[in-house]
Amino acid sequence: MDEAWRSKMFQEDHVVMRNQKRHGQLARPGRREFLQVGALSGLGLTLGSFFTQRAALADQKQFAHFEGTAKSVIHIWLSGGWAQQETFDPKPHSPLEYRGEMSSIDTVLPGIRFNQHLKRTAKIADKITVIRSMTHGEAAHERGTHNMFTGYRPSPAITYPSLGSVVSHELGPRANLPPYVCVPNLPAPDANAGYLGSAFGPFTLGADPAKKNFTVRDLSLPGGVNASRFQSRQHLREVVGRHFGRIEDSQDLIAMDAFYQRAYDLVSSAEAQAAFDIASEPDKIRDAYGRTEPGQRMLLARRLVEAGVRFVTLDNKGWDMHQRIRQGIDAKLPPFDQAFSALINDLDQRGLLDSTLVMVSSEFGRTPKINRDSGRDHWPKVFSVVMAGGGMKRGLIHGASDAIAAEPFESPVTIEDLAATVYHCLGIVAEKELMAPGARPVEIVDGGKVRRELLI
């Protein structure tokens, strides 16, 4: 074990102690939460600190994690840029060219209206938080996407990690499951691990749970290999690996072995495997979510967080409605409405909503005025983000856009604020610095405020 590691461990312990004082009740996450393999666990090092160590040593701002309100996150990503006017922030009193041709409906919250298709969601409006004053300045898809996935504006010099990767880095795996999963695939390059390195990237399913013959790549044993043969294979791998393991003493080896251990755990754990098995979900529930792309993806996400995955990002494409927005919304919103309301109700009934943070977001909103193609174009100045559970208030409409949904009217929320708030719910201090290449310490979020008015 490298001397530098030991010294760093020592330093970290000190930092933790210092911060414990500052935060009062803080404690390091239980050792079981860490990856326990070989020399890594011997020193209580997580894989996260291993990779950090390899980067360099420098003065980093360190903070210990604390007990957050959210144990996991389901991030529902509506790529393309959803229109705030045709979803959660209708403008029934503005002129037609602004409000569009769609109508709105009452929700269970007095005076609050949603789009006409959000019938089921309107009934659970008292369980969710709608942020109507989200804002950033990037009107290009890739830049807006970057902002929303990382909490940072794009930089020419550094690739930032996504929220899911930071969670993976900070909190590690739980219950034999990967900490960060994308359903079905990486929705955008920005959902990846950036400077943290691919070890903290998401585990991607590579298959869509909405499809009939859904199976996750490489997750189950190949044909002809049963549990006992797999065990015998593991033993053989141990036999042929012993010699090399004895003569070689490398951190890279330890890290690779750690992932083999995770893979063994995942492959051998019936519970972990079952989390991916959407077919074992009762038909009634599958139907309640809807046999649609968003429906089955959200249902699988629920299964995953229920089993122990910390951060699930699921993707629902097709919200970039430059033309004929009415037809677009008619097609996209009803299945979303069914799936999302089913997810919230399902989580709530299972007692999981208070510990599961659900976030619905998109790279930006859409222009105040209907364009000549009956669509709306990109608009990052104000748009909506929907949150629920995991420490969020129930039935809160936060902030407002102006009369034509062009600018935030009150309490604007920045991408930094949003990221800092999500991290806070998970018990991660956003001012903590992680190590980027070139021994450059980078704050998890640069300058965002935890928006406590959103929280319980």
Binding site: D2, A199, P222, F244, M256, Y264, G438
Partner: protein
């Protein structure tokens, strides 16, 4: 051994220490060894330019074993003419135990330093001894913000400032800073009537609540400067032409070798200016250490040793960062460097550094290990069982050199290096901009050059100046793949000069010497590139228009072309890229050859002499400067002979060392004292999987059986390559190739078709059983095939036992085969 840095200054280097310590390596640290054999006084010449000027002196002694001692406090210091200079015995204000010289009258004299029986002397020149020039905003005030940490990115240097006050990051925009300080919140931020009441001062000294806390004491020199400047009217420099430009920063002593914990060494920093003056800026620089656990440096510049190791100590002043290396060794070390008879010049340079660190390198590895390693590194394949057998039976002393020669002559060597270069040149198709045909032609162009061993300078030159159609002159595709001028600028700097200048696009580079002026001056070389359609709609013509300028985003002025760290050439007639290419590949260019040799070194040794191999920067110095310099110098002298360079590296003992560490080098991962085990990169790993299972790969556009390293278009991939972190060639950065492990990799090798299917498809086990091989023979063959060695006795016993009594013998063997492919000995080069 003498080393020259980027600016051609001579550096006293470690190798000197190493040479000396060889003689004294038997001696131990008793009182006798505290005698010093050399005494050095810094700075080597003192210049006092005004009544305000002063110069701190640091005295360093060197013991016979190379260990250095800070003798500044102990030394007796006197000047030849005491009417000219006043010597203060210690820097009392800052509590530094170093002598300080103050001017009294103009003239020339000398400073004599005596200590432990040795004497040193430095010349002292005093001018304008009675003139007290007004405080300059740029020279005297701006450094206060840097030193106080006020303009760091996490404080007021943030893009939007902090708490309503913004300074430019690390002071890249003094004019803007002046505006903000003096024109925002007048009467509060700056109070001309009562300077001490200015918020600028009150906040900094912690007299009023300040998010950043107290930055310096009210009675400090820093506070004094602010107050005096405000009292004098808070004027900007009246005539910018008269503000001398900062040309360099010297940090003394240039080298330290400290013994034991808590040894100390004071640093002294001197800034040099274009008008020939200099200033002692020891109090004004921002110090940092790359490894504070070995050598920590205080805010005042005092170094304190910690545990054994190396550190690079840096000082930043204005736009310049400088650093000096420091080595810390434990006390009471008995160290005997082993004799080596067959060292090459590479080994001599590596060993010199190891000697100074008191590290013994590992022995040279055995033949089997060498053969597997050199095959993987040179041709991306494993040696066959027959090749291994022939090599082991060969008893001639030069057999390793002959194998190297054979490998370097193989087509697979070309394939491997074409792949490496294709990453740097980012060869791939890209939508409507680069048609697949363009990418293929570009790849073919590269292949021909590597195959012919064309001198690397010519190859790169041809690319940098390339004009014409992307089909007719394929390297023009490089300029089609990146059409944004600034990104192109950054790519060229990183690919060919090994420098990441991205930071300087928006602000002065915080950890390097690059300013925004440098950045946009360099970008200016590419500002005239234009593109137009060719006859074939898939082809584009790249040319220089002769017009078009690069604007500086702060000043809005046109920036003429300027070489990085060099001069601004006359390019009125000449094509800008021609001028750039001439400068880049010139034999005395300080970056290009070093970048290339470092790249090659990193491929074979697993780590660059500068690491990452494309991250040359002041704050990331080479671990072995003389080695890097010599490799580069010889490479240039050889006529940029690429194969020759590879051969020099591969035939060295350093490359051939065992990965097994000894007690002294176990913790060393940076100085090449033992081989580093390296995960095999995605493409080579897939090729070796195919090789050992006797199966083939199929890639679009390539015949069945083509190898992954031969893929021409960077967009071609498959699940295995993506999962194991192949280079997508979308990013020039060496960091784009990931060797990090992941869950998906492990799952894919465990459960995916890559091992399971291939073993079945290749059916080697079935064939061997059919041949009638015994259990033991089958096991032998598998391990030889995968690991290039025979099974150990214990392995054989256990594996045989696992086959015993199995109803399905073939299945059990296939499971062993599977295990071999999943174990690290297959996945790592060692």
């Amino acid at each position: 051994m003498v080393r020259y840095d980027h600016r051609g200054r001579r550096l006293w280097h470690l190798v000197l220490v190493a040479g000396l310590c060889l003689a004294g390596s038997g001696a131990r640290a008793d009182t006798a060894s505290e005698a010093v054999v050399a005494l050095r006084v810094f700075p080597p010449a003192v210049q006092l330019d005004s009544a305000r000027d002063l110069q701190r002196i640091v005295v360093q002694g060197e013991r016979a074993d190379g260990v250095t001692l800070d003798l500044s406090a102990e030394a007796t210091v006197s000047v030849g003419d005491a009417t000219l200079v006043h010597v203060e015995a210690a820097d009392a204000a800052a509590g530094r135990p170093v002598p300080v010289l103050h001017p009294r009258a103009d003239g020339v004299t000398s400073l004599t330093v005596t200590c432990r029986g040795l004497t040193g002397e430095v010349p002292v020149r005093i001018a304008s001894a009675t003139t007290k020039p007004p405080l300059s905003f740029r020279l005297d005030v701006m450094p206060v913000f840097a030193r106080g940490g006020c303009n760091m990115g996490s404080c007021h240097g943030a893009a939007r400032g902090k708490d309503g006050f913004r300074l430019s990051l690390f002071g890249f925009d003094p004019a803007g800073d002046y505006q903000r300080i003096t024109r925002e919140m007048p009467g509060r931020r700056i109070d001309l009537s009562e300077p001490l009441a200015s918020l600028l001062v009150q906040k900094a000294i912690g007299a009023v609540p300040h998010t950043g806390g107290k930055r310096f004491a009210a009675e400090s020199d820093l506070a004094r400067r602010l107050i005096d400047w405000i009292a004098a009217g808070a004027e900007d420099d009246p005539d910018l032409a008269n503000v001398p430009e900062l040309t360099g920063l010297d940090l003394y002593p240039p080298q330290s070798l400290l013994e034991g914990e808590a040894a100390t060494q004071q640093l002294v920093a001197v800034a040099r200016f274009a008008d020939g003056t200099d200033r002692d800026v020891t109090d004004l620089v921002w110090y940092s250490s790359t490894n504070a656990s070995s050598a920590a440096v205080s805010a005042d510049g005092q170094v304190t040793s910690g545990r054994r190791g190396e550190a690079f100590l840096m000082a930043r002043y204005d736009t310049i960062t400088e650093g000096v290396p420091t080595v810390v060794i434990p006390t009471g070390l008995t160290f005997q460097f082993p004799q080596a008879n067959d060292n090459t010049w590479v080994d001599d340079l590596v060993d010199a550094k190891l000697r100074s660190l008191r590290i013994t390198p590992s022995a040279v590895c055995d033949d089997e290990t060498f053969l597997r390693r050199v095959f993987l590194d040179c041709v991306g394949l494993l040696p066959t069982t027959e090749q291994r057998q022939a090599f082991l039976e060969d008893t001639s002393p030069d057999k390793r050199t002959r194998v190297i020669d054979e490998l370097l002559a193989r087509k697979e060597f070309v394939d491997l290096w074409v792949m490496k270069w294709a990453e740097i040149l980012q060869i791939r198709s890209q939508g409507v901009f680069v048609a697949p045909k363009g990418a293929l032609l570009y790849h073919k162009w590269l292949d021909r050059r590597i195959a012919a061993n064309q001198p690397i300078d010519q190859m790169v030159r041809d690319l940098v100046v390339a004009s014409g159609g992307t089909f007719e002159n394929p390297p023009t595709n490089y300029f089609q793949l990146e059409r944004d001028t600034l990104k192109l600028t950054e790519n060229i700097a990183q690919a060919f000069l090994g420098m990441r200048i991205q930071c300087a696009q928006c602000h002065n580079h915080p950890f390097d010497r690059w300013t925004m002026d440098d950045y946009y001056g360099f970008a200016s070389f590419f500002s005239q590139i234009r593109r137009k359609r060719a006859e074939d709609p898939r082809e584009t013509i790249v040319y220089d228009s002769g017009g078009g300028a690069m604007k500086h985003p702060v000043s809005g002025q046109n920036v003429p072309p300027k070489f990085l760290g060099g001069e601004a050439p006359q390019v009125s007639v000449q094509d800008r890229r021609e001028a750039l290419a001439d400068w880049m590949v010139a034999p005395d260019n300080p970056f290009f050859a070093r970048r290339i040799v470092n790249l090659v070194w990193a491929h074979f040794l697993g780590r660059g002499i500068v690491d990452e191999p494309d991250d040359f920067r002041v704050s990331n110095p080479p671990v072995n400067g003389p080695l890097l310099d010599e490799l580069a110098a010889r490479f240039v002298k050889s006529g940029w002979d690429f194969r020759g360079l590879v051969k020099e590296i591969v035939r060295s003992n350093t490359y051939q060392r065992s990965s097994e560490p000894n007690a002294s080098n176990r913790l060393d991962t940076t100085n090449f004292s033992h081989a580093a085990i390296r995960r095999i990169r995605a493409e080579v790993l897939l090729d070796t999987l195919a090789q050992v299972t006797d199966t083939t790969n199929k890639f679009p556009g390539l015949p069945e059986g083509a190898r992954a390293v031969q893929v021409a278009d960077g967009r071609t991939t498959n699940y295995f390559l993506t999962t194991f972190g192949r280079a997508t060639r979308e990013d020039v950065c060496s960091c784009a190739i990931s060797m990090d492990p992941s869950l998906s990799q492990a799952l894919h090798l465990l459960n995916g078709e890559v091992a399971n299917e291939r073993i079945r498809k290749g059916n080697l086990v079935g064939r061997w059983i059919k041949e009638g091989l015994t259990d033991s023979q089958v096991i032998d063959r598998m391990i030889l095939r995968c690991y290039g060695r025979k099974p150990l006795e214990r392995e054989r016993i256990e594996l045989l036992a696992s086959v015993q009594g199995q109803s399905n013998r073939q299945q059990q063997f296939e499971d062993i085969f599977w295990a071999l492919l999943n174990a690290p000995e297959f996945i790592f080069n060692h």
